[in-house]
């Protein structure tokens, strides 16, 4: 009995000390969740007074929560659209890392090469056979099977689909008018699988299948990945380096809302995207605001070294400098949060 009381007292003491800590709430994208969890736990080791609660409810939810100001920060794979930004004025995008999308397939082909036109034609249902003349021309010397192509796509709304359809919209006028780009679209052909694992499952299960998944997922599961022809006309394998190059090659607007699919650069991989944290330009609570901005500062600097081991592409240096400038403009009740020299801890 005594022991029980002691335990209860200890538990109470525990909650009391936890109350002294500052808990920052965030919600949004699922794609960067593994990296964000790593960041939160590493940052918590450095600064035990800060704790994070991140709900990976999806980008749509993240945008909604930050619009309603029910969280300290949101997270989204795609930048907010103008209409969404109008509903949440003063929301700032902070790119954190990059992700890429790869085309995977189930056919006895060592390295499949796909031009932008061919990929669009397959997903529009115009190329239906693996040994189609267009594919044969792109893959000289490769024996392409005489089998039908089974197209697989994501059935759940996802940032991955957004990147993939954004790319197809840029390289194919027909795709742009018939289908468009979004987290969910009306697919002209093909089956839907839920999540990266669902798409992978269908591709592995269905002979002649072709699908698209995140680069990180494809690498971890050692899936075959197609080479794509980038804007400079060169064949590129999907890599993290190629993803970072794509980000370095674009003109970054001041609000970071930019699509980096089909980017220029000879090593640039064409299906890539930033993922973002969404924070209010002016926050209400100076203490929380400071904690959050200091964390983001750490994430885009020291935190970047945790990206590559988890198969995320780190931000290019130039983008980090732009993020620094942006972080310095953030305010709490009209007062600048970061003052003076950059890295004050």
């Amino acid at each position: 009995m005594k022991r029980l009381i002691l335990a209860a007292a200890l538990a109470l003491a525990g909650t009391a000390s936890a109350a002294d800590k500052l808990l920052l709430n965030g919600a949004g994208a699922t794609f960067p969740f593994p990296l964000y969890s790593k960041w939160f736990s590493e940052y918590n080791k450095l600064h035990p007074e800060y704790q994070f609660n991140y709900q990976s409810i999806g980008s749509g939810g993240g945008i909604q929560q930050v619009t309603n100001r029910t969280v300290d920060f949101g997270a989204s794979d795609a930048p907010m659209k103008d209409a969404q930004l109008a509903a949440a004025p003063g929301t700032v995008h902070i790119p954190t890392v990059l992700g890429a999308v790869v085309v995977t397939y189930h056919a006895a082909i060592d390295t499949l090469r796909l031009s932008p036109d061919a990929l669009a034609a397959i997903y529009l249902g115009k190329i239906t056979k693996w040994n189609d003349a267009a594919l044969a021309k792109l893959n000289p010397g490769v024996k392409l099977p005489d089998a039908s192509i089974n197209v697989v796509h994501r059935s759940d709304g996802s940032g991955t689909t957004n990147i993939f359809t954004d790319y197809l919209s840029k390289v194919s006028a027909e795709w742009k008018t018939r289908v468009g780009a979004s987290t969910s679209v009306k697919w002209p052909v093909g089956l839907g699988g839920k999540g990266n694992e669902g798409v992978t499952g269908l591709v592995k299960q269905t002979p002649g299948a072709i699908g698209y998944v995140e680069l990180a997922y494809a690498k971890q599961n050692q899936l075959p990945m197609a080479e794509l022809r980038n804007k400079d006309g060169l064949w590129v394998k999907p890599t993290m380096e190629g993803t970072s190059v794509a980000a370095a090659g674009i003109v970054m607007p001041d609000d970071f809302r930019v699509s980096i699919t089909d980017a220029a650069g000879k090593d640039a991989y064409p299906m890539a995207s930033f993922t973002y944290l969404l924070v209010p330009q002016d926050q209400q609570d100076p203490v929380r605001a400071r904690a959050l901005v200091e964390f983001i500062w750490w994430a885009v600097h020291d935190g970047q070294k945790y990206a590559a081991p988890l198969d995320y592409a780190p931000l290019p240096k130039a983008v980090v400098r732009q993020v620094e400038a942006k972080l310095k403009t953030l305010t709490a009740k009209g007062q600048h949060i970061l003052v003076g020299s950059a890295n004050r801890k």
Partner: protein, 316 residues
Amino acid sequence: MDALSASPHRPRNLGDRLWGAGLVALGGAVAVVAGVIVLALGRLTTPLVGRVHLLEFIKGQDWDPVASSFGALPFIYGTLVTSLLAIAVALPISVGLAIFMVEIAPGRLRPVVSFLIETLAAIPSVVYGLWGLFVLVPWLRESVEPALAGAFGFLPLFQGPQIGLGFLAAGLILAVMILPTIASVTIEVLKTVPVTLREAALVLGATRWEAIRLAVLPHARAGMLGATLLGLGRALGETMAVTMVIGNTPEIRTSLFATGYTLPAVIANEFAEATSGEHVAALAGLALVLFGLSILLNAVARLLVQAVKAATGSVG
């Protein structure tokens, strides 16, 4: 309450009244919860109200979030086809299983079988989905669908490319999932049939089969309908297992080999990343349609149960 208030000698005291009010509140909670759900969903649909007519939404066949064009019919169709297919497969098996358990199985076997049935009911739906994707779908693609096409290929139900995924796979997975529900309720129903009924039939010279068919089953008919209703409810709302094997294409096809989509599956799939207000509104609209569909089927089934009760009552 009724008994108490009906008694003329006992005036209602405060305790009785509080107790009564508490029970009314608890009973009313169900109505409140249902009402709040409908209200909340209704509010979510406001971006589409006025822009899209309800009938057009239900009759519409196009689902294009990019163009903000939303129609619910392919999802309603998929939900109904898979659920009815599941009932068609699971009901005969469940009834047979129940008859076996109550009338025929030796005493030692009963606990084993009933344990197995309970185990089936306890498997999470995502496990059914994985099993469906990796075991059932390849089997359907390579063995079952070619065989069905060979034997019944003249029917539109069994035509078209055989990829394994689709209405057939989803219906069969659902059948396995609702089988324990229907079977265990039917077993309980059959147990309530008075022994005297069976004995009377046997005494009159009926065989065992005739006793079951003429005495036991008619008595249990209403209960069995109720069991089917419970199974149907689970089939209508099942999300995870279905989305993993149905192919997720919002199309209306006659063939059971074709891929489709269901209401709960599309809601679960698209809600988290639905970024436009109209898309969210359309998904909330689908949720209301599912709600309405469940209520409609529930009402029809209740009427059926009453009709059956009345019929058997007049016979007996």
